[in-house]
Structures are given as C-alpha cells and as structure tokens.
Amino acid sequence: MNDSDGDKIEIFHRVNRLKLKAGASLHDGAGFIDSGAINRAQGIIETKQSLYPKIVEESLRKLEKSWNNFKTASSDELRNSSMEEIYHTANHIKDLASTFNYELMQHFAVSLRDFSERIDVTRKEHHIIVQAHNDVMWVVYNENIKDHGGTKAEELKLIVAKAIEKYS
C-alpha cells in the first residue's frame, strides 16, 4: 500500500459516547433493549394495522391524481415531475403494504416504482403499463386481497406482466 501523503490513511478510534449515554461503561459487554419494550413496539405496528385501508386509499388517490396530471401535462418536464411523484407514492405504498404484510399490494407497488424509474414518458405504450398498475392496485384495494396466492391475485399479476411484456 502506498503511504505517501496523498494516499494517507487516517483511523479515528472515538470514545463510544452512545454506550456511556446508554448507562453502560466502556468496558461492559454487549447490552440489550428490554424485551417488553420490543414487544410493545411491535404491538404498535399491529395496532396501526387497522389504519391501513384508509392510508392506502389516500395514497392510491394521490397516485391517481399524479397520473391524471401526467396525462394532461403540456411538457415532458411536467410529465417527468408527475412521474417522480408516482415513483415516490408507489414507494410509500410499498413501505406501507410490506409493513402490514399486504403482499399483493406490495408486489404491484414495487413493480410500478421500478417501472417509473425507467419509463420513457414520450412513449404512449409505456403509459398503458402505468395505467395497468393503477387499475390492478385499485382492484386489490377494493377487493381487500392480501396475499400473492389465489386465482384473482394470479389473474391480476398476469394482466400487469402481459402489459409489461407487450408494451415495454
């Protein structure tokens, strides 16, 4: 290894202030967080599960609004801006659905998020793919489909997969 001045490596061993602040001494071994606190924290996720339908509906409406703005936008710049909103909203839906184990919604949210990263906003065929995602996500929401399995879930996944295959 070259240790000339330009390639100098500096190593900083800092005092572990977090450990001290947590009430331990520097020589103590690994500590833990009270299991009761962890259980209560996990319980919060379960309590908030009842809010999922309302919040996901709001996000789907936001997605729809951004998509409508995209379709009526007068320039590529505005279309790109709307698509960025769609990207972030899809990512939020993904976070929400994965937290509460809504696998199918998570699947489509990830698919839309990833597609909106590579979309060519000038290609009409690509718009069909986004529309297909929007449509199936509403169906998943309205019919409260949670898991990947099941005939309806497979059918919806096939619709999107075919749209991507045909119009990509």
């Binding site: 800092r14 977090l18 947590a22 103590d28 967080i33 937290t99």
Partner: protein, 198 residues
C-alpha cells in the same frame, strides 16, 4: 414473544452479565418523507425508551436540524443518531450521508447514521456503506430489526477511516477469531497441499 435483541444475536452463555440499556438520554433524528412511516418509527423508538425524537421530512430539513443541534460541539443536547430514509423527493439519504461525512465539524461528520432502504439488494447495502452509513436497515421496519440496528451502533462501533475518496465507518466487519476446539476433519495444511497438487 420476542427475545431481547442483542447486537451480536449470540447466546448470552459464557458472556458477562448483559446490561439493559437506558435510551432516555438519547436524541434521535428520524428523516423520512412519508409521515405515516416517520410516526411509526418514532413511536417504536419511544417504546424503546428513547427520550428525544426529532423528525425531518426531507434532506434539507434534516440538515437544518443537524446544524441546529450539533453545530455547537460542546452542547449536551446534540443529536446522537440519525435514522434516514434512502428515497426522498428532496435530496435522498445518500446525499445527506455525503453531507454529514464531508462536514468540517466533528459533531456532525462522526454522527452515527442508520440508512433505511426499501431495496433489499446487496448493492444497496454496499452503496450505503460506501457513502458512510454505520448500518443499513432494510424495510419493512419491525421492532426487532430496529432494536438490532440500534444495538449494533451502540455495541459495535467501527472506527472511522479517512482514505482518498472515503470518510466514514470502516466498511469491513471485524472477523471474530474462533476460540473453540478444532473440529475440522481435514487439516488446513492438507487442503493447501491438495491445491498445490492440482
């Protein structure tokens, strides 16, 4: 029922008596653009006993918060740890990390940071580390995962390195030496000689 989370995730057998941490003196900054997730994470931290939680909904807001709390190196109210989301519309988590690690003040550039990512690929973990994250938490967030990442930062702090093109926690994990009895059937020398014969 969840077990108490330890940074090592190892059995306590043979270790010194473990200490329950009190996080009441901690101030943690949660940087998350999605209010629902920001509140969920903050509420879980509160359950862990974290005394002070501040939220920022964008990279820019996070910078302002960090400057507000951590500019004074001698302050006792500094932010102790940042939990930051990777994907945000207004300057993403990686940009914020770069800003932190490039800052001239020690109270900012050494600030422990956990990057939360919605992507689960190894590339993301590597990118997080390459940009100076202490730890990466792959979403969805659970109480166990969150506690585990906090404990890693507290119990396994890595030294910071400054090398050309990088400043941040050492990207290599320390390899613990195996202290148990030898259980291998084939000796290391035999493996070496086998390879030499090929």
């Amino acid at each position: 029922m969840n077990k108490p989370v330890e940074a090592t995730q190892m059995s306590a057998v043979g270790n010194k008596q473990k200490k329950a941490y009190s996080l009441s003196a901690f101030r943690i900054l949660v940087v998350e653009d999605y209010p629902f997730m920001a509140d969920l994470i903050s509420t879980m931290l509160r359950e862990f006993g974290v005394g002070n939680i501040v939220q920022a909904s964008s990279g820019n807001e996070a910078r302002e918060m960090i400057m507000l709390f951590n500019s004074d190196e001698t302050s006792r109210n500094k932010i102790d740890l940042v939990l930051l989301d990777w994907l945000m519309p207004d300057g993403d988590g990686l940009e914020l990390l770069k800003w932190l690690r490039g800052h001239k003040k020690d109270s900012i550039r050494f600030l422990p940071s956990v990057l939360c990512s919605a992507y689960a690929s190894e590339d993301v973990v590597v990118a997080g580390r390459d940009n100076g994250a202490n730890e990466v938490l792959v979403k969805p967030v659970s109480a166990q995962k969150l506690a585990s990442r906090l404990l890693y930062v507290i119990d396994k702090p890595r030294p910071f390195l400054k090398v050309p093109g990088f400043f941040g926690p050492d990207r290599r994990r320390r390899i613990e030496e195996y202290k148990g009895t030898e259980r291998r059937i084939t000796k290391a020398e035999d493996i070496k000689s086998y390879h030499e014969r090929l």
